[in-house]
């Protein structure tokens, strides 16, 4: 599918750009973290331990006022002492208000973001590209109808529409069994490394969010695909194919789509980044189908800004690094393949 010339351009650009290398490293890291979460998470992210809540990350400590009552020569006295709470090695990045390990939740949060980002983009791409290609290729009324509908759906900011749809359709989610846990290879490995076992055997895939995110972002793909189809159909090799007797379906499948993949590929990377941001915004506002999400953790940490700043900070940094990685890969593809799309796509 990817022609050797595209591969050559990609390699050439990769060699000459450090940012591209950084991008690939970050994205690979995110994929690995998401895939092998059960192995690298220190604790089961959902385990609560109220004794050890709001523990600071390593290198920091926290003071808290503790009041205790004591019998001092016959009368009840309230004693205020300031107690210093130090970080513990078992929770390097600290714990949140329910005593859940912040680092482990960030690791599992990667899985949610990755899933929603990729699946949402795929759904948007399939919807958008098919409609856009047909509209651009046949033009006329089909094209007009699409363009008017695209204008209307652009009038609704993705976040606004997403909130409305999720709010109204509910937050149905799917319990996906964790393959590694199912294979039973997680606990032995964790035990070997002296890590606590008992990782969650499944993780929650926010079905509604993925569908809504796909529905909300298909317009960007439709616009790009339509633009490509409009220009490619005028190319001489399409006319030559028609002269050879090729049917419309063959022309679209064999000539238009393959030559339209470059801008669609670049837009896809932009959309993955945008959807990760969108998903975290939704879960921050409480519109996500799962609690194991960076956005949700940030919203939890908001209440403890003064006392436990790390609860909100760590998942936020995770989002930033993940999205920077995806954006850098997007820039690498755009610089190497020069698809000529600027500013399309977005939250």
């Amino acid at each position: 599918m990817i022609s050797p010339r595209t591969l050559r351009n990609l390699k050439k650009e990769l060699r000459s750009s450090a940012l591209a290398k950084l991008g690939i490293v970050l994205v690979l890291a995110m994929i690995l973290v998401a895939a092998f979460a059960p192995f690298i998470a220190l604790h089961n992210p959902t385990n609560q331990d109220l004794e050890e809540n709001n523990l600071p990350p390593l290198g920091f400590s926290r003071t808290t006022e503790e009041t205790s009552s004591e019998m001092v020569n016959g009368s009840l006295e309230i004693v205020n002492e300031t107690v210093r709470i130090n970080a513990t090695a078992s929770h390097p990045l600290g714990t949140n208000s329910l005593g859940q390990d912040v680092y482990s939740r960030a690791v599992y949060g990667a899985r949610t973001s990755m899933m929603v980002g990729v699946l949402g983009t795929v759904l948007a791409a399939v919807l958008g590209v098919s409609v856009g290609l047909v509209a651009g290729f046949y033009r006329g009324r089909v094209d007009d109808a699409l363009m008017r509908f695209a204008d209307v759906s652009l009038a609704f900011p993705s976040l606004v529409l997403a909130i409305a749809l999720i709010g109204l359709w509910g937050r149905a989610a799917v319990d996906v069994p964790d393959p590694f846990v199912a294979l039973g290879i997680v606990d032995p490995v964790r035990a070997a490394f002296g890590l606590p076992t008992g990782m969650p055997d499944s993780f929650v895939l926010p079905g509604t969010v993925i569908i809504v995110v796909g529905l909300v972002n298909w317009v960007w793909f439709a616009r790009i695909a339509r633009g490509e189809a409009l220009s490619i159909r005028e190319e001489e090799y399409v006319k030559a194919a028609r002269a050879l007797g090729a049917s419309d379906a063959r022309i679209i499948g064999r000539h238009v789509l393959p030559n339209a993949t470059t801008p669609i590929l670049v837009l896809a990377t932009i959309q993955v980044a945008a959807i990760i941001l969108l998903e975290s915004s939704l879960s921050f506002l409480g519109f996500s189908g799962t609690t194991l999400s960076w956005g949700f953790d940030i919203s939890q940490g908001r209440g403890y800004l003064s006392s436990a700043w790390w609860i909100a900070t760590v998942p936020g940094l995770a989002i930033v690094f993940a999205v920077i990685g995806v954006n850098l890969v997007g820039d690498w593809l755009r610089d190497a393949l020069d698809p000529g799309i600027e500013g399309e796509g977005g939250v």
Binding site: S3, P4, R5, D144, E235, E236, Y237, K239, A240, A241, R242, A243, L244, G245, A246, R250, R254, H255, P258, N259
Partner: protein
């Protein structure tokens, strides 16, 4: 209407192609009237078997649109195109597909005519894939040229699969023949000897098995290659035929130069072995030295496959070199049509004359040659001039017979009339320089009655009344060239001179 010239392979009659734009519902509501660009506005010509008809003209004259419309790559607005007697625009899908195999096209731009994501082999073989070729032609007999190595003492008979012609092309005698040799081979199993048959051509596509039955050797030759392999081999052969090499089948278009890419385009057109090819400016984008190579190739292919060409170009020296007959087009219509030498040696239509005059010759005599150029620009095909479309620039525009005026002066008058119609004159300037004086500058060669009428018109312009000025000039100087369109129907000899000088 001329009778149907029976041996003409292609008969185009009154072909029209208009592009509508600005026709959106909203546009009409807002009053921006839908305008139609009359790219091809009634073109008629024939193309005879084995001939190369040139279709030449400047950009915007509609030559490429004509080429594409007659192959139904664009929807025609009107007119008829008969190919080998069949009306192309009425063909149903099934017969349209058959027509596609007989008529092909080669494009101009080496970088846009090949799909960058397909290998060169796949590009050339695409036609065959669409039409399920190579299929076996039942009328073609198949045979083997048997050579039996001397020491085999058995009688041998050979049976050849009848779809052999999918791989081996039929010879002149209409038989697809393949050389097969049978020889004895020493083997170490018990009877010490066995017979082996090998096919000496297309080894990877054909297989030969030999069986010994009661003292006789029976050799069976069958096609073993898959359809894809056969197509690939045929594509390789076609690449060789156009001057590239078969082992470039898996290369991509970006690995080839402009000239080589055009050769791939030609190989693609040949894949369905058509009878008729539209060559739409095939060498215009190439450098001179590469252009010569491709022109020679097109010549050789025409002789070898008996092809008929419609050669579209704007370079007159290339057209002179390769075409038997030439049609000169201007603004969507045929201005002149006839045998190449006649058109180039003594052109009849003023536009053809001007074209030939303008072409710079690559020889020393050309140095410092002063060319009498046409005035103004090509008018917009949105609203072409009435009557003869060339009248706005024609150096031989015909004055009305009751007006005696010298040709160049009449041309100035007609230019003046154009400026008045387009309101390009500045009333203040005319007022300031006095109409008579202004007339002397703009239209020097006129005197007496003619001068008086022009002054009267300029007077009107000075008062800002462009319409009355146009009317006064029209009454006196209206020419047949603007009232009646010249006849551009091919005569009995198939020639056309669309000019009133020749009615």
């Amino acid at each position: 209407m001329t009778d149907r010239d029976d041996d003409a392979l292609l008969q185009v009659r009154n072909l029209r192609k208009y592009y509508e734009d600005g026709g959106g519902l909203l546009d009409r509501f807002l009053g921006n009237e839908a305008t139609s660009v009359k790219a091809v506005d009634g073109v008629s010509f024939d193309v005879h078997e084995g001939e190369t008809l040139g279709l030449v003209g400047e950009s915007g004259c509609g030559k490429s649109t004509t080429g594409e419309t007659l192959l139904r790559l664009r929807e025609a607005t009107g007119g008829t195109v008969a190919f080998d007697g069949e009306e192309v625009f009425d063909l149903d899908d099934e017969s349209l597909s058959a027509f596609r195999r007989r008529a092909q096209i080669v494009f101009q731009d080496p970088f846009s005519s090949l799909d960058p994501r397909m290998t060169v082999g796949a590009i050339v073989a695409e036609g065959m894939r669409i039409h399920g070729l190579p299929e076996s032609d039942p009328t073609v007999a198949t045979d083997a040229e048997l050579t039996v190595a001397d020491e085999t003492d058995r009688t041998v008979d050979v049976t050849v699969a009848d779809d052999l012609d999918r791989v081996v092309e039929a010879g002149d005698d209409g038989v697809a023949r393949v050389p097969v040799t049978v020889q004895r081979v020493e083997t170490d199993d018990e009877d010490g000897v066995a017979y082996d048959a090998t096919v000496d051509e297309y080894e990877e596509l054909l297989g030969a098995t030999v069986e010994e039955r009661d003292g006789e050797l029976h050799v069976a030759v069958t096609v073993t290659g898959s359809a894809r392999q056969i197509r690939n081999a045929r594509a390789g052969a076609l690449l060789e035929r156009v001057g590239l090499s078969a082992d470039q089948v898996d290369r991509y278009p970006h690995e080839f130069s402009g000239g080589q890419r055009q050769r791939v385009g030609i190989a693609r057109a040949l894949a369905l072995d058509p009878e008729f090819i539209v060559l739409d400016e095939p060498v215009s984008a190439l450098d001179v030295s590469v252009q010569a190579q491709v022109l020679n190739l097109l010549d050789d292919l025409q002789d070898e496959f008996g092809l008929t060409y419609l050669f579209i170009a704007h370079d007159l020296s290339v057209v002179r070199h390769i075409c038997d007959r030439v049609a000169v087009m201007y603004l969507g219509k045929v201005a002149e049509l006839g045998p190449t030498d006649e058109i180039f040696e003594n052109p009849d239509h003023p536009y053809t004359e001007a074209l030939l005059e303008s072409v710079p010759r690559a020889e020393v005599e050309e140095q410092g040659r002063r060319v009498a150029t046409l005035s103004g620009d090509v008018p917009s095909p949105r609203n072409p001039p009435s009557g003869c479309r060339f009248r706005t620039r024609c150096p031989k525009v015909i004055p009305p017979d009751d007006v005696d005026i010298e040709q160049s002066a009449f041309r100035d008058v007609m230019d003046l009339r154009e400026d008045v119609a387009a309101e390009r004159l500045d009333p203040a300037e005319i007022r300031e320089t006095e109409p008579a004086e202004y007339r002397k500058q703009e239209v020097p060669g006129i005197t007496g009655e003619n001068a008086a009428v022009v002054d009267e018109a300029l007077e009107a312009v000075a008062d800002g009344e462009f319409d009355t000025a146009a009317e006064t000039l029209r009454e006196r100087f209206e020419t047949v060239c603007e009232t009646t369109p010249p006849d551009d129907e091919p005569g009995a000899d198939g020639e056309v001179v669309a000019c009133h000088l020749h009615d």
